[in-house]
C-alpha cells in the first residue's frame, strides 16, 4: 500500500472524470453530428487534450528525476556514500 499514495488516486480519478466528460455527446438533430465542446472547431481540442497529456507525462517524469537526484545528493551529504 506504500505506493498507493494520495497523489496517484487524485490523478487517476481526475483522468477518469475527464474521459467521462469527453464521452458525453450532444447531437445535431439535422446532421446527426456530435456538437459538444470536444467535437467543435474541427476537433482541435482533441489535440489539446493529447498535448496536455504528453506535457503532463513529461513533467511528472522530470519531477521524478529531480526527486531521485535529490535522494542521491542527500545520501552523499549524510556520508552514506
Amino acid at each position: 500500500m506504500r505506493h498507493f499514495n494520495k497523489f496517484k488516486v487524485v490523478l487517476v480519478s481526475g483522468l477518469l472524470l475527464f474521459s467521462f466528460y469527453a464521452l458525453a455527446q450532444n447531437m445535431d438533430l439535422k446532421t446527426e453530428e456530435p456538437t459538444d465542446f470536444m467535437h467543435s472547431n474541427g476537433k482541435i481540442f482533441v489535440v489539446m487534450v493529447v498535448v496536455i497529456t504528453i506535457v503532463t507525462g513529461l513533467l511528472i517524469y522530470v519531477i521524478n528525476l529531480d526527486r531521485k537526484i535529490r535522494k542521491l545528493e542527500k545520501n552523499i551529504l549524510s556520508g552514506k556514500v
Binding site: V51, T56, V62, I63, D66, L72, I76
Partner: protein
C-alpha cells in the same frame, strides 16, 4: 536554484500554455495562417529558451576563464547542451510549420539558414570538447570558443535575416525584424505568448540543472574510486 517554487511555476505556466494555447481566441485575418498561428506558443518559445540557455552558458564560460574552476565549466557545457536540444526542437517544429505555410519544410529562408548555421556552430563546440584529452585545456579552449559561438548567435539569428527578404512575418528587409514584431501581436495572444516563453525557458533551465546535479554526483563517485 535548488528551491521548488520556480519548478511549480514552470509546471503551472506550461499547463496554462498547453490549454490556453488552444482555447484563446485568435484573430483570423485571412485563409493562410488560420489556426496554425497557435504554433507561436510552442515553436517560438523554443528559440527564446535556446537563447537564454546559451546566454547562461557563455556567462559561465567567462567565469571559467576568470576563476579556473571545474564548476563553471560544468555549468557552461550543460546549459549549452540543453540549449542545443531546444534549438533542434525549434528548427524541427519550424520545418513542420513551414511545410504547410510556405509549401516546403526548407525554403532557404534567411532566418532558417541563419538558425541552422547557429546550431552548427554550437555542434562544433561539442566536437571541439571531444577532441581534448587534457581536461584543463578542454575547459579553457572550449570556453573561449563558446564566447565566439555566442558572438555569432546574434548575427545569424537577428542581423543576417534582416538584410534580405524573409518569409518570417515582419521580414521586409530593413523595415522590421523577421519574427520579432511583438507589437503586431493581438493582446489576447500576448497573454499566452509571454507565459509560454517563460514556462518553456524555465523547463530548459530545470533540465540543465538536473544534468549539472547528475554530473556532480558522478564526479563524487568517480573521486571515491
Amino acid at each position: 536554484m535548488n528551491k521548488a517554487w520556480w519548478k511549480v511555476l514552470c509546471v503551472l505556466l506550461l499547463l496554462y500554455t498547453c490549454s490556453m494555447g488552444f482555447l484563446v481566441k485568435i484573430p483570423v485575418l485571412d485563409g493562410r495562417l488560420q489556426q496554425s498561428i497557435r504554433n507561436l506558443y510552442f515553436h517560438v518559445p523554443m528559440w527564446f529558451c535556446m537563447q537564454t540557455l546559451f546566454m547562461v552558458s557563455v556567462i559561465y564560460s567567462i567565469l571559467r576563464l576568470r576563476k579556473q574552476d571545474w564548476k563553471s565549466d560544468l555549468y557552461a557545457v550543460e546549459f549549452a547542451r540543453t540549449g542545443l536540444i531546444f534549438g533542434l526542437m525549434g528548427i524541427t517544429t519550424g520545418a513542420i510549420w513551414a511545410n504547410y505555410q510556405w509549401g516546403e519544410p526548407w525554403s532557404g529562408d534567411a532566418k532558417q539558414n541563419g538558425a541552422a548555421i547557429a546550431l552548427l556552430i554550437y555542434f562544433a563546440y561539442f566536437i571541439l570538447r571531444g577532441s581534448f584529452q587534457d581536461s584543463e585545456k578542454k575547459a579553457n579552449i572550449s570556453a573561449v570558443y563558446n564566447i565566439f559561438a555566442f558572438a555569432m548567435l546574434f548575427p545569424t539569428l537577428w542581423i543576417l535575416p534582416r538584410m534580405t527578404e524573409s518569409l518570417h512575418p515582419g521580414g521586409q528587409g530593413s523595415e522590421g525584424n523577421p519574427a520579432l514584431n511583438g507589437s503586431d501581436l493581438a493582446p489576447s495572444m500576448r497573454m499566452v505568448f509571454w507565459p509560454a516563453v517563460f514556462g518553456w525557458t524555465l523547463l530548459g533551465v530545470w533540465i540543465a540543472t538536473l544534468r549539472i546535479r547528475l554530473q556532480k554526483i558522478k564526479l563524487h563517485y568517480a573521486t571515491l574510486q
